[in-house]
């Protein structure tokens, strides 16, 4: 169990865990983000088809929220990051000897992630139809 109660916010921010800490934090944030998005999507679709007239406004509000441009970009980020980072974690779990190349693996991971994320993100922001 974590010892969160003994750590102040300032200490937490000052903790310089470097890339591994960033990866761990982003993995959790993106994982929670995907769970939230998929949950909202299932709930909205269920309400829309199961009880259209009554709950349609709730479903439409949810749909408008997750179809907005910032949410689209967040979902793109979360899916890509969680997938690529998860793959790195699995590979290092299977072959522990590779752990000494963890730092290099993280650079490779960012090199894969950034273009795969930024290119579609820019197209979404510019509203380009592909």
């Amino acid at each position: 169990m974590s010892k969160l109660s003994r750590v102040t916010l300032l200490q937490a921010l000052a903790y310089r865990g470097g890339l591994p800490m960033v990866a761990w934090l982003l993995h959790r944030i993106s994982g929670l983000g995907i769970v939230c998005f998929v949950s909202m999507h299932v709930v909205a679709a269920f309400f829309l088809y199961a009880a259209g007239g009554v709950t349609g406004t709730v479903a439409n509000a949810l749909t408008d929220f997750y179809e907005s441009v910032p949410m689209q970009i967040f979902i793109l980020f979360a899916m890509l990051y969680h997938g690529i980072n998860g793959l790195r974690i699995i590979i290092l779990d299977m072959w522990p000897g590779l752990m000494r190349y963890n730092r290099e693996a993280m650079w490779v991971q960012w090199a894969l992630f950034l273009p795969m994320f930024l290119l579609p993100a820019i197209l979404i922001i510019l509203g380009v139809k592909v």
């Binding site: 993995h27 998929v38 299932v42 679709a45 088809y49 699995i90 522990p96």
Partner: protein
């Protein structure tokens, strides 16, 4: 940080074995997360390749390709010019997409359980939150079954 402690690393003699290395629920949950994680990537790639071989090429825009890759249900390509039946809506895709959302909901909500167990320090609250997660998991599965077969 648990994820960087390795499954196959030898632990010091006398040190307590991490719970996910002992046979039991935690070990199966840990293993399930890895296996389904790889599976999701393979399924996404398969869905993309299939959609383009099965007549989606030139009919599906980038958004529709992405929606279909993440979750192959016929709703996800209905707004496009592709002919939905028979390639994009048949019993194979119904069973496949139900399997996919079952694995995804289990993977995701188990992840939420792990996060909750890291941060929630009151045992009784944790019991209630776990029960809530199981209830929501069942709701997602039933809603998915309804949307896939019932609509």
């Amino acid at each position: 940080m648990a994820i960087y402690m390795n499954a196959l690393h030898k632990t010091r003699p006398g040190a307590e074995t991490p719970s996910r290395l002992r046979p039991g629920f935690e070990m199966y949950a840990w293993f399930f997360t890895r296996v389904t994680g790889v599976l999701f990537l393979l399924m996404g790639a398969f869905n993309l390749v299939y959609a383009n071989l099965a007549g989606g090429r030139g009919h599906l825009d980038a958004g529709a390709q992405m929606r279909w890759a993440f979750f192959p249900i016929s709703f996800h390509v209905e707004s496009t010019s592709v002919e939905v039946t028979p390639n994009f809506a048949n019993p194979f895709w119904q069973v496949y997409s139900f399997l996919l959302i079952t694995l995804a909901a289990t993977h995701g909500l188990n992840g939420v359980r792990v996060i909750l167990e890291d941060y929630v320090r009151r045992p009784l609250l944790l019991v209630w939150l776990r029960a809530l997660l199981v209830g929501f998991w069942l709701f997602v599965l039933m809603a998915a079954a309804y949307l896939i077969w019932g609509v």
